[in-house]
Structure formats: C-alpha cells, structure tokens
C-alpha cells in the first residue's frame, strides 16, 4: 500500500466547477487556497476541479505550467499527472495554462537558501520552508534551477490521483457501484463487468460532487509510465515540422517588426533619421523604442532591411567600454569586502604555509544564443493585451507588459509558446517589452517582433565573466588546504533587481555556487566570493554560477592532486563526504574502466560537480592527433533519485555534455566600445557534430530527494576536458575558451 496522502488541514482542494461539458481538478499545498485559474472563464456548462487537469467534451487536457524550452518539460509534467490519472500520453492534450500564483515553484527555494543541497539538518530544512512560503506568496511561477521535476514530482501525481478518485466517486454515484469495485484505465472508469465510462462522460457529474480529499499515491512497482521509456508528446510534431514555436505564430492581420538597438548595450537613442528607410517597400511605421528604433513592416525580411537603413545616433556606453576594463574590474573586486564566505573550515592561513600552490583561472562572458531568436507577438485592443511568447517568467512578463501598455496585469493575457531553446535567455523578457512598445503604436493589429540573430547576440544578458584566485597545500599524498576566492558580477542583482524590480538584499550565493557547497571533506577549506561592479548586464545561463565555478574548483583540485602525486579519481573518492556523490564517482570509474592503458597521445580526465542537488561525475577521453585534439569518449554518472523518462534523460545529459564541452572549446563573448563584439554563429560556434564524442550515461537512483537534470551535466564537462588535455599534452588550461591555447580537430 502506498502512503496515505491526507490533503485536509494543510492543503485545500479547489471546489469543482463545470468547463464546457467537463471538469478541472487541482490541489494546493499550503494554508490558504490559491485561486484556481481554470475557473476564471468558465461557461455555465463547464467544470474545473484542479489547476492541472481539465476534462471537457474534447477530452483530457493536462496543464503543464513549467515552460518547455526543449528539455521536455511539458511531457514530463504530463507523465507525472498521467501516471495517477490513468490516461495515455498519446491520447491527451497538454496546455501550459495561464500565468497564475497557483503554479508557484517551491523547489526553487532549495537553491535560494544558504545551505548546501546535501544539508538536511533542521536549520537548512526550516530555511527552505520559509523561503518556499515567500515564493508562494509572490506566486513565483518560474521555470529554472532544474526544478520542474523536483517541484512537481509529488504535486502533479497528487493532482492526477485527486482527479481520478473524484471521477471514480462520480461513477459510483452514477452507477450505484461501490468505489472499491471500480478501476480506472486508459482515460475511463471501468465497472466490474468491464463496461468503460470515459472520463468525458463523468466530467459534469464530477463537477457537482465534493472532490476526494484523501488519495493514496502508487508505489514505484505499480508505475506504468515513470521510469520507463516514453514517447515525448512533442516528438512527432518536431520531426514533421508541424510544431509551432513562438516565431511561427500566425494571426489575422499580423504585421512583422524588427528593432535596431544601441550597439553599446543599454545605451540610449540620441536621435535617428529614417528618411531612407521609411519609403522602403512594405514599411508601415518607424518608431523609437527603449534604446533604439523599431520598424514595422509587412514581412520580417523587409523589416530587417529597413531597420538596417535607419541612421541612428547612439548614446555613450553605460558600463566599462572595453574587455580589458572588465577584467580589471574583476581583479579590483578581490580588494573589496567579500560578498559572502560560504565556507571556512580549519585554519587555512596557517596550513597553507609559506609556499602554497597558487593559480588564477578565468572564464569569459557567454551568450545564451538559443537557435530560435527571441520573439513575441503583442496585440493591444480595447484595453486588453494579448502576448504570444516563449517565457520562463510569465508573471513577470505580465506585469512588465502591463506597465508599458498602461493596463492592469489582469488585462494582460500571456499565451506561452514552445521555445526553440533558451539556456536561460527566456528568463528575460526584453523582447515582449519592446514588442509592447511597438504594439502601442499599432493598436488593434497583432505585431510580431523578431530579433535578428545579430540583435539577439549583441543584446543578450550574459553568463558572467569571472576570475578565481586559488591557493592550496598538499601533504602526505592528499589535499591539506584549499582556499578559493572568486570574483564575478551578481546575476541576482542584474537580472532580478535591475530588470525585474525585485529587491535582492544580501549576498548572491550564485557567485560562489558550486564552490562552497561541494561534498568534499578538506580539512582546511575556505570559499570567498567578491562582487564585481560596472560589468555588463548578466543573467542565468544554463547551470548559472556552477558553469564557471566547477571549472575553477575542479581545475585547481586537479592541480593539487597532481602535486600530491595522487590519482585524480581515487583522490576525489577519498575526499568525498556524501555517499550518493561517492557512488557517482565510483560508477564513472567503472564505466570508463579508469586506469586502463589508453595508448600513445591519449589522455583522460575526471571532474565532479554537484549543482541543484544533482551530483554528476564525468570522464573525458581524448586523443592528441596531428590535426588537433579529438574528444573520443565521455562517460557520465549521475543520481537524481528517480528518472522519470530514461530516453529524454539520456538525451538531456548528452546535450548538457555537448553544451559544456562546446562552450569550453571555442566560445566567448567580448566587449568593445561598450557593446558585444560577436554577432553570429561564425564567431560563436560551439560544438559541431563531427567533434561530438561517444557519450555514455548511467543514472543511479540513491539520491534521497528527486532532482532535475537540465543543468547539472554542464559544469563538469569543461574541467574534465581540461584535465584530459593536461594528461595527454602536459598543457594546463586555466582559462576558457581552450582554443586560445590548444587546437581542436
């Protein structure tokens, strides 16, 4: 028997109401019910029982409020509901729903507290609870922090179970058969004689009874879907060119727009001359927008052409104009008071001694560059604003658009679109804001704004550039002391405070994310974060602080282990204080047959990182060929507690490795004259298919808490590659991208 889930007291069900011939079901944890957004627009013959399940004459719709940017969020959310609801994934529809506080993200709180993911003590747990409550009050409907599964694993299964049991209760009432004699399967309640009553036929009845408040979640051995290979709900559409992304939105009478923004990012428009552009074919309107000029035309290409023909007078740079200035700002920040000291164990200063090993590591700015350039469609008509866009922050966008359009947030209707990648860019909403400015000039007409690839690159909010200064000492074949100091701009301040207006007092733990919270037991261990100022605006980039800090931490740890004369894998296993992480390290050793003879000109490296509570260990094997370094194999071991869909899981891990390796190999964003220099993929290539290694993935399931996998495979890739390059060539890489120092095939 499963654990009885009593929802009463601490959680409330939202009462049922009729939806066009049906119902919608939901459940909320917390002391006060949140309004069910599905109830807002109901007709007299419609019903809704939860914010996650809607049943009407057309069938079952599962509401999947976490945004899908390619990671399969819609599918995995649907699977968790469907597991308990007893519906098949190829027979339901998914709908991201509307922005609502009901869809707040509790799991994000896990990352917002100053306790390591491995810390399950009373203080850490209490802090997560408090921050979680704040997130609920603020209605933080945010997709990020690899939290979709962690947040939904229980919540969505309960939503499915509540809906199922309520439908069974309705069937019992309708047929007179006891609930205990009813089963559910394939979207229907099954009577003892085998008669099937489709959920659609029970929806209206279900809406008239009190929802069932006690449900028993199924045990893992009873699962039909979870843990078994699934066909993602979007795979067929994405293989036939029939999936509509935001950029594909088509509305009657729609016009197409482009912007040209001050190449000195964030700078103002001082003046412009549109005389050459305004008479170009198809141009309807040319208007100033924040930081630039917008062109509205009848075709995207014509808008691009006309935007290029506008003569603009740009204001000065708003941050340090040259890249050298940015490195200088990062260096100067080491002389300022620390933003935080996340770890301070033992007596670092005395154990370092007179001649510690020292290293300085650097990581460049990076762009998100999802393959779908950012875009939005906005229609303003009769005081109502409709926005079609891909977004990870729909409620922020709702508020920001409302402020520009001069309406209440409730008048802004966000239609969440499937995204062609994000990697964090869709946590920003500048394209919806600029598009709203344009739509204000074209009321009654839907305006689609597509950023050109060049505008998308040059106005991205970047992964921070960062410097680490590290000291260490070894003794008796092991690491005795490790002192890590890092300098980086604050993502939280730039992204959340400056652009979303949310106060972000106190330290920014992302500056030293994956430095202070790693499960290593080093006797004398200190981590200090410094906050750099006057840098380019920065944002969350797939794996956030861990993306650069794992390179720093693991890179320098490798140097220390080399100095101690130890084995890179054995030493990490010996230093590891977390059982789950240690098994991950041991497993990657077994997978790669660590220690076997690799042959001439070959090398291997290992790196580990725990980010977002997910431990990941990666081994890279490569060959130093006469034509450059060829990465042959990558072995990945990880543990998220429970894999929902092993097919998508493997795909995400492999993709994370490619993402981490590709950027470490050849990507950087540099600044000149106050703006981003790189404009397109010829200057920011990433990995190409011929460079892709064999990637072997193994998932363990010992983690006591369920975790996400979207980001955690990224951080270990760069340091594992650097370590393998050192092994093969003797070249120690302390700065990304590596192609500044070595050649790749």
């Amino acid at each position: 028997m499963g654990r009885l889930k009593t929802i009463g007291r601490r959680a409330f069900l939202v009462g049922s109401t009729a939806v066009v011939g049906g119902v919608a079901f939901g459940f909320y944890l917390y002391k006060k019910p949140v309004e069910n957004p599905l109830l807002a627009d109901l007709g007299s013959d419609e019903a809704a029982l939860t914010p996650y399940v809607k049943i009407d004459a057309e069938g079952v719709t599962l509401i999947t409020p976490r945004a899908d940017k390619g990671q399969g969020a819609y599918s995995v959310q649907a699977a968790m509901i469907a597991e308990e609801l007893d519906v098949e994934l190829d027979r339901i529809r998914v709908d991201p729903g509307v922005p609502s506080p009901a869809y707040w993200n509790r799991a994000l709180a896990d990352e917002a507290v100053p306790f390591a993911a491995t810390d399950q003590g009373a203080m850490a747990t209490a802090a997560r609870g408090t921050v979680g409550a704040v997130m609920k009050i603020m209605g933080m409907q945010v997709t990020g922090g690899s939290s979709t599964v962690a947040d939904g694993f229980e919540k969505l299964r309960i939503a499915g179970a509540v809906a199922r049991e309520t439908l069974k209760a309705a069937a019992a009432q309708k047929t007179g058969v006891a609930v205990a004699s009813l089963r559910s399967q394939g979207g229907a309640v099954i009577l003892p004689d085998g008669t099937e009553i489709p959920y659609q036929e029970l929806a209206a009845d279900a809406s008239r009874i009190e929802p069932v408040t006690e449900v028993v979640l199924r045990q893992p051995e009873q699962w039909r879907l979870i843990g078994k290979p699934m066909l993602r709900v979007d795979t067929v559409a994405k293989s036939t060119g029939t999936l509509d992304y935001g950029i594909d939105a088509k509305l009657d009478g729609m016009v197409h727009a482009a912007v040209v923004l001050n190449p000195r990012q964030g700078g103002v428009l001082s003046g412009y001359d549109a005389s050459a552009a305004k008479d170009m074919r198809g141009v309807k309107k040319i208007v100033p927008v924040t930081g630039g000029v917008g062109v509205i035309a009848d075709n995207t290409w014509r808008a691009f052409q006309a935007a290029a023909a506008v003569e603009c007078d740009w204001g000065p740079a708003v941050f340090a104009p040259e890249m050298a200035d940015h490195w200088a700002e990062l260096e100067q920040a080491f002389d300022t008071d620390p933003d935080s000291r996340g770890r301070d164990e033992g007596d670092v200063e005395n154990t370092l001694g007179q001649t510690p090993l020292t290293s300085e590591y650097r990581a460049p700015y990076l762009a998100h560059a999802p393959l779908e350039p950012i875009n939005a469609v906005v229609l303003i008509k009769d005081g109502r604003v409709d926005v079609w866009t891909g977004t990870q922050v729909p409620r922020f966008t709702q508020n920001n658009v409302a402020a520009i359009a001069g309406v209440e947030p409730e008048q802004v209707h966000i239609h969440a679109q499937m995204m062609g990648g994000s990697f964090g860019h869709r946590l920003e909403d500048e394209v919806a804001r600029r598009c709203t400015e344009l739509a204000m000039e074209m009321k009654g007409v839907p305006v689609k704004l597509t950023f050109s690839r060049e505008q998308d690159f040059s106005h991205d909010y970047l992964r921070p550039a960062a410097i680490a200064r590290m000291r260490g000492a070894v003794e008796g074949g092991t690491v005795k002391a490790l002192d890590l100091a890092v300098s980086a701009p604050s993502v939280l301040t730039s992204q959340m405070a400056e652009r979303q207006g949310m106060p972000m007092p106190g330290p920014d733990s992302s500056i030293s994310q994956a430095l202070w919270d790693q499960p290593y037991g080093i006797e004398n261990y200190r981590v200090t974060a410094h906050r750099a100022q006057n840098m380019a605006p920065v944002s969350s980039w797939r794996s956030v602080g861990a993306s650069q800090n794992a390179f720093f931490h693991e890179g320098f740890l490798s140097e220390l282990i080399t100095a101690a004369g130890g084995d890179q894998l054995e030493q990490r296993i010996a230093l590891c204080t977390d059982d789950v992480s240690r098994r991950v390290l041991e497993t990657v050793g077994e997978m790669s047959d660590w220690g076997r003879e690799l042959g001439p000109d070959r090398g291997r490296g290992v790196a580990f990182c725990m980010s977002f509570g997910t431990p990941v260990a990666e081994v890279v094997e490569l060959t130093n060929t006469p034509d450059g370094i060829r990465i042959d194999n990558v072995f990945v071991a990880t543990d998220v507690g429970r894999v929902i869909d092993p097919v998508n899981f493997e795909n995400l891990v492999q993709g994370g490795v490619v993402f981490g390796l590709g950027h470490a190999m050849n990507c950087e964003i540099t600044i000149s004259d106050g703006g981003i220099e790189q404009t397109n993929f010829h200057e920011y290539e990433g990995m190409r298919l011929y460079q892709c290694p064999q990637i072997t993935v193994k998932a363990l399931e010992h983690n006591s808490r369920i975790r996400g996998i979207g980001e955690p495979p990224v951080p270990p890739a760069a340091p594992a590659l650097a370590s393998a390059i050192f092994d093969a060539t003797g070249v120690r890489l302390r700065e990304m991208p590596f192609n500044k120092f070595v050649d790749f095939l």
Partner: protein, 152 residues
Amino acid sequence: MKLTVNGADYALDVEPEMPLLWVLRDELGITGPKYGCGIAQCGACTVHIDGMAVRSCSVEVGAVDGEVTTIEGLGTRESLHAVQAAWIEHQVAQCGYCQSGQIMAAASFLEMNSEPTDEDIDAAMSANLCRCGTYPRIRAAVKTAAAKLNGA
C-alpha cells in the same frame, strides 16, 4: 514570379532578392523552415530545390530554378519519410528548432549516398548546428534511416 513549393504553384509579387526563407515563412505561411542565423551558418532553414539541400536564408527567391520541398512536403504524420520515422524512433529532438533543417539535410544526403560510413555522416551533418547537443541521436537516426532506405 512563380514558385512551386511542395507540389503547389504560387504566384508571388516580391522582390527577387528576398531570401527564399522569408518568402516561405512570411509570404506563404510555410513555417517548417526556421530562421536561425540568416547567413547559412546554422542550417535551420534547410529546404530542397529539386532534391538538393540548400540554405533558404541565403538563396534569393529570384534565383530559385526548381521545385522547392520543405519539411512539410517531405512527409506527414500519416505518411512519414524514412528520415522522419528514424527521428521519431530515436527521439532526436530536444527543443527541435534545428531538426527541420537536420532532417532535410539528412534526406538529401541519403539520396546521394545510400550507404554512408560514420565519416560520411559526420561530414554531411556537421554544417547543421544543434544548440541542444542532440548529435549522438542524429548520428544514430541517420544510420537507421539509411538502413531503412536500403530495404534492411
């Protein structure tokens, strides 16, 4: 100006220098081909002209001298092309935005090389960028499609 796309004839009134991609997307509403870079670097816009894979973002519509096939014309849900079936079997897509172009590139390549080696596949498919990193699955799907097209 006349254009044949997926077997249908269209009469167009556009500048001959407009890239084929924007004619397809904004004039004809055929949005399977995607805009990714605009300079033939990413391959998301790949379509066929008389069976040959081309970057529609960098082909002027006035220079098109054959029949255009987009992903929509390659196969449908009900009648999948072997490459599309392989893409589904291997569940290649993550965000999927590049995959229309990847599939069109693979279909054209397999027309010309029915028994590709691993090196052939790497060479043919490396001009198409995938930011999500689905390359291991693209390789596997191309092999499956090749076997299927050879009647295996």
